[in-house]
Symmetry: C2
Amino acid sequence: MNPRNTKATIFDVAERAGVSIKTVSRVVNNEPNVRERTRNRVLQSVRELSYQPNAAARELSGKRSRVIGLIYENAQEFGYLNDVFNGALGICEPAGYSLLLRPLTLPDSKITEHIRQFAINARLEGIVLPAPMGDLPEVLALLREMRIPFAAITPREPAPDEINILCNDEAASFSLTELLIGQGHQAIGFIKGHPDHGASAKRFAGYRHALKKNRFAYAAPLVRQGYFDFDSGRIAAGKLLDLAEPPSAILASNDDMAAGAIFEARERGLTIPGDLSVAGFDDTRFSSRIWPPLTTVRQPIIKMAETAAGLLIDKLNGSATKAPEAPFECEVVIRESTAHLT
Amino acid sequence: MNPRNTKATIFDVAERAGVSIKTVSRVVNNEPNVRERTRNRVLQSVRELSYQPNAAARELSGKRSRVIGLIYENAQEFGYLNDVFNGALGICEPAGYSLLLRPLTLPDSKITEHIRQFAINARLEGIVLPAPMGDLPEVLALLREMRIPFAAITPREPAPDEINILCNDEAASFSLTELLIGQGHQAIGFIKGHPDHGASAKRFAGYRHALKKNRFAYAAPLVRQGYFDFDSGRIAAGKLLDLAEPPSAILASNDDMAAGAIFEARERGLTIPGDLSVAGFDDTRFSSRIWPPLTTVRQPIIKMAETAAGLLIDKLNGSATKAPEAPFECEVVIRESTAHLT
DNA sequence: TTGTAGGCGTTATCAT
DNA sequence: ATGATAACGCCTACAA
């Protein structure tokens, strides 16, 4: 297969092409001031020797590590993370960047110190911040202070000159709520997400807007606080079902909590969706595999992660800053956990 | 906090300690031949300047990249991978190694070429192979050829001088089968795992041994092939339930397939565990969250990954090769998806 | 026990 | 448009 387990240096290429190493360097790094013919000759040699620049030498000399970090909340839904990993990895590798992962356990009072050490030790050039990392003010402040470019995936207001990827959570939540309303549900419970996550507010807002538009009175008891995890969804659903007039449908701010709600309902002998409709948010791998399959909202997470990594790399490479991305579209996925009120 | 975003070089430390850079190098790398007093003086300076050796320079000069790769099957069960990541990451970081992830999609006819490129581009010093990567002969052959040390997490025979981490799958499968037998089940269906995974054979062997020990006749129709994924579990369960004399219990070789079996049973209007008991293997995050919660087997995956990474690093650091690890213990977790035959 | 010189493969500077 | 040469920070000989 390969000539030899990689070895060719810039000198080999230069010799073979009959030029100096500096010219090779110019070509390899896409610098100007190389005659077209020369460039081609060098490129040819590069191919023939399957030359790969030595990253260590590059970094030592040029100051660029070509390493990007990805910090994430450890406890989190892995379906989301897996998509983020795949998306980011798929972009970084071909672009010649390494992606280093760093799980963090929240809440973490020393989070800035942890990130600082990570950034220094790994010589990070940039950082990808999947939700909810981009929602933490102290993290953003640290990165700005350290002047490390980052790309956040979270529904916050895009700060000028900063990369931010988001999708239309709110519109999707609105649609989902209207779906439930259309199915005849009069009392729709809502389980809020973790208050520190930007998405929580958006999803709640969509719910409220749908109620208002359809002239439903907002009933505070029908709204419960959750924290995006299974157990909190279970507890919140329990409170909802304990109500004198319990809702006939529950909209949870993510699928983990929706699964918890279904679990709780089952414990009480309720049938889904006969006695209770349940919908979630995220469309994780398991959303379609629990019984009944969950009505939910699918975000194009892989694409969002790809875009985040891509824009970050563009920035690191000094490319022109792209126009701010429009929000990505979410898609409502209707399955069997919701049904018409009979 | 930090004096300055890291900068001190070996020269700064040498000057401050009044020694040569070589002496500093010796101290930093724990080499012998340094007087105790001198060593302390150097260490002191290192601390005062919060000196961190420049990784790039180190690699360029010393040939060591301190990068470890982790290749995994992309489609795989997340819960397993998440534990593997956390375990390996938790060991690598403090030891001064970077862990680079590389998802692979199986089957992959060019897998050796992909791994070769990954190893070369990332300058890997070693590789961690979670299941089922360590079950692929061509992968092992490649790594041996390239002389890249690896640590495999899979139930294969430990080759001499190679690191292999495993747990007693077979014993656990045996226990689980006996549990079902003890519950009065006379016909126990079995869904085999992917034939290319080492664990599949072990788990099946445990099932057969339990049958034999309890003087159950082995009935081929009760054994179906699966591939560790939800759908294959669903299909296999369907065939079992189509039998003229269907089993009253099904043991699936992993939880994904067990979930598929439950799903299929539900579709047919069966009650779990009333009409059918179902057990799995892995205890993923969702095993306890589906309804009913799944009886399964828990492997200490995090510890196994930690051990794998730890032994690999020891090897890379030239430490004495540890004695081969004893298999890790699995634990049967009994939940509501299995019950006495009524 | 400690220090000196040379080189690792690139990029940057300054000529030409 | 191209090239010679000096960094970059560390480690491995080889001396002392």
